[in-house]
Amino acid sequence: MSTRTDALAPPHLEAPAPTEGESYLAAKGVMSWAFSRDHKRIGIMYLVAILFFFMVGGILALLIRMELLTPTGDLFSSDTYNKMFTLHGAIMIFLFIIPSIPAALGNFFLPLMLGAKDVAFPRMNLASFHIYVAGALVLLYSIVAGTMDTGWTFYTPYSTQTKAAVVSATFGVFILGFSSVFTGINFIVTVHRMRAPGMTWNRMPLFVWATYATAVIQVLATPVLAITLLLLIVERTLGIGIFDPAMGGDPVLYQHFFWFYSHPAVYIMILPAFGIISELITIHSRKHIFGYKAIALSSVAIAIISFLVWGHHMFVSGQSELAAMIFSFLTFAVAVPTAIKVFSWVATLYKGSIAFNTPMLYGLGFIFLFTIGGLTGIFLGTLSVDVHLHDTYFVVAHFHYVMMGGTVIAFIGGLHHWWPKMTGRMFSERWGKIAFVLVFIGFNLTFFSQFILGTRGMPRRYHEYLPRFTLWHVLSSIGSQILGIGLFIILFYLLYSLFRGARAPVNPWGGVSLEWHTATPPITHNFAEQPVVTHGPYDFDEIQREEAP
């Protein structure tokens, strides 16, 4: 277990008095959690919820992959299969990945990193969580009510005419949107108004910049999803005729509405992940981040540009060719700030003192996997190429590489990185490495095979396929099992660590940002004394120079 001791803690921050004030975990009882306004408790509640839904969505995925072991539909009827991939998508996107990093890790660490006592609006934060639970219940009710088989994208006219439970499902997602918006409002105001004295914008950790940019997207994009779903419900119930051609509407108009949110939504998923990677790479290579300003501003640039490219999901839907060309051109633009980040991380690693511990392995894995995912996004953004690859498994592989190989890998890395701080326990480093290897191999086997399937013509959302695709489907399904085993191992050793893990020191990794300079786990009010910031969050060199004799 490679941990760093507090000996490297910067001398000019007061050593915290760990016993002053109770740990945030002290108060007992369900009510003290369910109605807590403490951002840390809310973060933990979100964490438990999203991990639960990740498991549900993951089991659905394993079942899907099991069906796809053979070319014929043996396990499920085509109707059931449609419902399964719809549920897998809707649960993974709306109940797991959109809230994941911001609501769980962001909620916990944003105020700590800023040196604040809580977010700006703690009651709204609690409301956000309660709304999330309510939305989840409505969405899950729709399963009982007949489920939806439209795909998570609810495209019209099928969604306006199918007998499935579209209204309850979309209403559930509508409710969930408010949870996301409230989180976004809270984070923006917190960053603007509650930074510790001395914490200028350029001294904020990059995770905060990333979360801030994400919050901007959440606030601007989610309302459009809300109106889209509302109009879909109205179209279904009243038959207005804006989306359904049978009643005079335009189904492509629905897609414009839907993707205006859903494209920025994927940046809601990945931007916080970028923020985590910045933290992991710099701390675990003990080197000041390369290009702090570039990374910080690129997060904001990505947030803005993300609103300009939604039409690249509609290249073959019937959009005008002129619009398609414009969107394709703009799509290339978003790669630039993203690439700046990747180059900066690699430059940070150069001549760093790299510790190959579990969080760093996930950080390095992210750079590899996200690069593949991101580049294949550019292939798909190229209009002429997308005509052939759209709705094939190539697309499925692309978004799993960025969402899972990107966001989920970063999330797991961040979870390990901050696990000691949140729980006061260290996890088993040995099992951490074993699980990482299984996850990495399993993931690549599962999804790289799908790139190949896609280029050879295998369409997505089909539960039967031509026999010539069998080999790659089998490999993909085997990979999914390995991936699943790896993920379950993570769950087990993390849970185990809660009961038997070694007590964590205040600062196991030698971090310099403010969350590492308060008790582990933090006290309820975060800091015993209001911290005053005099240096940046990655000034390791400065510290080491001070430590020199």
């Binding site: 108009l253 205006f260 609103f307 939604w310 039409g311 005008s320 060719e321 002129l322 414009i326």
Partner: protein, 138 residues
């Protein structure tokens, strides 16, 4: 109510506008409403919607600046308001580009004929010409 216009130098005290100033804005809003109704009765044709929107924008600006106190507020609150409108414009603009240009490129493509085919057709149906007429590919 006393017309108490406090323009104190104290930055902590927010600006309190006079009743008269609010009434002036109110009057302007009513007048503009009347104007926009009257203008709509004239048959302007296509520009009618732009005129109506221009008046609406003026009214909205008055409400935002004076009733909502943006005039004397921090710049960032103004930025939030204007910024949201910017993204709305993006949504409108790119969607309308699509809706408005359906069929324009396709029309060209329907008339598109490969250069070789065109030459072959011409050779078969017309007396031979000295050189094929060079036409752009599309």
């Amino acid at each position: 109510m006393s017309a108490n216009a406090s323009t104190t130098a104290d930055p902590q005290q927010p600006h309190v506008a006079s009743v008269a100033s609010y009434l002036k804005i109110y009057a302007a809003l009513l007048v503009l409403t009347y104007v926009t109704v009257q203008v709509s009765l004239l048959d302007l044709g296509d520009p009618a919607i732009y005129v109506a929107m221009a008046v609406a924008i003026v009214k909205a600006t008055l409400v935002a600046l004076y009733f909502m106190h943006l005039r004397h507020d921090t710049g960032f609150n103004r930025f939030v308001f204007v910024g949201s409108l910017l993204f709305l414009v993006i949504f409108f603009a790119l969607t309308m580009v699509d809706l408005g240009s359906r069929g324009s490129v396709q029309e060209m493509q329907d008339n598109f004929v490969l250069q070789q085919d065109r030459a072959a057709t011409e050779a078969a149906t017309k007396p031979p010409v000295a050189a094929p007429v060079a036409k752009p590919a599309h």
